[in-house]
């Protein structure tokens, strides 16, 4: 009797165990399938325009006239590039030095204030950044900064886009860097300090050296994040479909193109397909950047452990 009872309960337990495992596995599979499905969907949707024109023509020409059937993505690609490069250029030193301060020098009460502030920055909806950029950065550029360099600027510029975008990826970069620096064992710092090195020498020659690949991976990861930022950049960068000549020209990044135009004028032949191609380009670039940074991180783990 008892034996039978045990046998039946154990069967039931094994059944539950297997089902739980199976459900969790299929749910995990779902996220991978989603990535593949989105990529595939975008590709299928952009086939019409790819059949009509060569990829090279689409990517390397600068004329964007949907009504005439001209779709050159170069201004948008350059716009995305410019905004991202500006954002990375100014946030990299800022976030690096902040993260160094937080991990190497800061007392714990300082950290208590800074980390929540960073979390708030990271958690703010991007519309808020966009509005803030329109209210603060745009007037600042048009009134104070631009007159020193160009005759006239509305303030809705590539520079404004870069600044706002930078502020948005700043908390991400700082927290990535803090995590990377915290992974350096204390003994390594002590080894350097005990040789008579100063704190800064230790940071520069040991901590930064050890974490250099990690820093690179973090930067690539944040670039892929920056490439996709839409609303905030769209609100301040002017949205002019022309390759920017200077920082004080407007530009039109790819995500902004999609957000502004999808849903309108879709009756135009090839227009929808062209926008889908824009989405596909973003998808592929972000995908590649993520993979590169994963590979780098994987290599680091292999060499240091």
């Amino acid at each position: 009797m008892t034996e039978k009872y045990i046998a039946s309960t154990s069967k039931w337990r094994i059944f539950k165990d297997r089902t739980a495992g199976g459900i969790m596995f299929s749910l995990t599979l779902l996220s991978i399938v989603l990535v593949i499905l989105i990529g595939l969907g975008l590709y299928l949707k952009s086939i019409p325009i790819l059949e009509e024109k060569s990829l090279w023509e689409l990517l390397a020409t600068g004329r964007w006239k949907p009504l005439k059937g001209e779709f050159g993505f170069l201004p948008f690609i350059m716009g995305t590039l410019w905004v991202t490069v500006i954002a990375i250029l100014w946030t990299l030193p800022v976030s690096l030095l902040t993260a160094i301060f937080l991990t190497e020098n800061a007392k714990s009460y300082v950290k208590k204030f800074v980390y929540p502030a960073l979390d708030i920055l990271a958690g703010l909806p991007s519309v808020v950044y966009g509005v803030w950029g329109m209210l603060v950065i745009v007037p600042f550029i048009s009134d104070k900064l631009a007159p020193h360099f160009v005759e006239y600027s509305t303030g809705y510029t590539t520079l404004a886009g870069g600044i706002v975008l930078g502020i948005m990826i700043l908390p991400l970069l700082i927290s990535l860097f803090v995590e990377i620096f915290s992974s350096v064992p204390k003994e390594l710092r002590e080894a350097s300090l005990s040789l008579g090195a100063t704190q800064w020498q230790t940071t520069k020659r040991v901590v930064l050296r050890r974490t250099a690949p990690g820093i690179l991976a973090a930067v690539i990861l944040s670039i892929s994040r920056a490439l996709g930022e839409t609303i905030a950049v769209l609100m301040v960068c002017g949205n002019i479909a022309k390759i920017p000549d200077s920082l004080f020209d407007g530009c039109y990044p790819l995500p902004a193109l999609l957000a502004n135009n999808y849903g309108e004028m879709l009756s135009l032949p090839l227009y929808e397909s062209a926008l889908m191609l824009a989405a596909l380009i973003l998808f592929v670039v972000v995908f590649l950047f993520n993979i590169i940074s994963r590979i780098i991180l994987y290599r680091i783990e292999k060499t240091f452990q």
């Binding site: 714990s108 002590e190 080894a191 040789l195 008579g196 090195a197 050296r209 240091f304």
Partner: protein, 288 residues
């Protein structure tokens, strides 16, 4: 000037670059840079250490003799390593540490406000529990400390690296791969590299924090033998929780228990004829 460590470096130091070049002649360490007195001396007076408001070290008074191996023994958690780290002020890099009392190194209070941290730490070569090579090549690991203290001359660096790798008995094993990452060495070699790295900045003291506990028996024996040779030039303070190691190499023994020094004295005296009951119990293995 005769090379200080020459008595145990059997191989004569050859000029590194070319024999015609006189400037690249054998490297001779000069310790006059910071050695004020002939005798290196640490003395601790009334030292109290609190970490997060816990009284970790209680009224420590001691003298570290020069040119001897001083072993600090005691059960784990008794404050041995903490005491060691007060000597080169690594302890106060941590937060919530409060230190009162005096630590005099060559008569200079290292906890006074005017003391130069880098100078103090340079005097103390630290050998940590687990070897911790810097993330660079074997060569750069040794050259690192010298570079930090302003030596840029390539030939001089070459000579220093060779000299101290020989001093740590590592030269023959690594001379063909000086520029490979140090982390690829075996753990015993890494510890000897760390020792050589510490010696290269010309300290007066060697502080070893259970320096052999992560090593295999053969490697620990090598390190112990090195200590015995090195004590002719340095004051060595070794924290250990293996009593047998202390028995083998200690000249002077400090027994600590619960943050206090219970007994200190020459090894013979402490091991053969301990005065305190606690020491007797510890040595007999009643607790560890």
């Amino acid at each position: 000037m005769k090379p200080i460590l020459s008595n145990f470096i059997s191989a004569k130091i050859e000029p590194f670059v070319s024999e015609n070049d006189e400037k690249s002649a054998a490297f001779v360490p000069s310790r006059k840079f910071h050695r004020k007195t002939e005798i290196s001396d640490i003395s601790v007076n009334g030292l109290d250490v609190y970490i997060q408001n816990q009284h970790i070290l209680k009224n420590i008074n001691l003298q570290i003799p020069d040119k001897q191996i001083t072993c600090i023994i005691g059960p784990s958690g008794c404050g041995k390593s903490t005491l060691l780290k007060t000597f080169n002020r690594l302890l106060d890099t941590n937060e919530g540490v409060k230190i009162t009392g005096q630590v005099l190194v060559d008569g200079e209070d290292i906890y006074s406000r005017h003391s130069d941290l880098t100078h103090i730490r340079r005097k103390m070569g630290l050998l940590s529990q687990r070897p911790c090579p810097l993330p660079m090549s074997i060569y750069e690991n040794i050259a690192y400390g010298c570079r930090i203290h302003g030596i840029r001359n390539k030939k001089k660096l070459n000579a220093i690296v060779e000299y101290y790798l020989k001093a740590a008995g590592l030269w023959e094993e690594v001379k063909d791969r000086l520029h490979t990452p140090a982390v690829r060495m075996s753990i015993g070699q890494q510890q000897r590299l760390c020792l050589a790295r510490g010696l290269a900045v010309e300290p007066q003291f060697i502080l070893a924090d259970e320096a052999t506990s992560a090593l295999d028996p053969i490697s620990s024996k090598t390190i112990e033998e090195l200590f015995v040779k090195l004590k002719e030039e340095y004051a060595i303070v070794l924290v250990t929780h293996t009593l047998r190691q202390a028995l083998r190499i200690a000249d002077y023994v400090i027994f600590m228990y619960m943050g206090e020094i219970i007994e200190a004295g020459p090894a013979q005296q402490v091991f053969k004829n301990p005065q305190q009951e606690l020491t007797q119990k510890y040595l007999s293995g009643a607790f560890s």
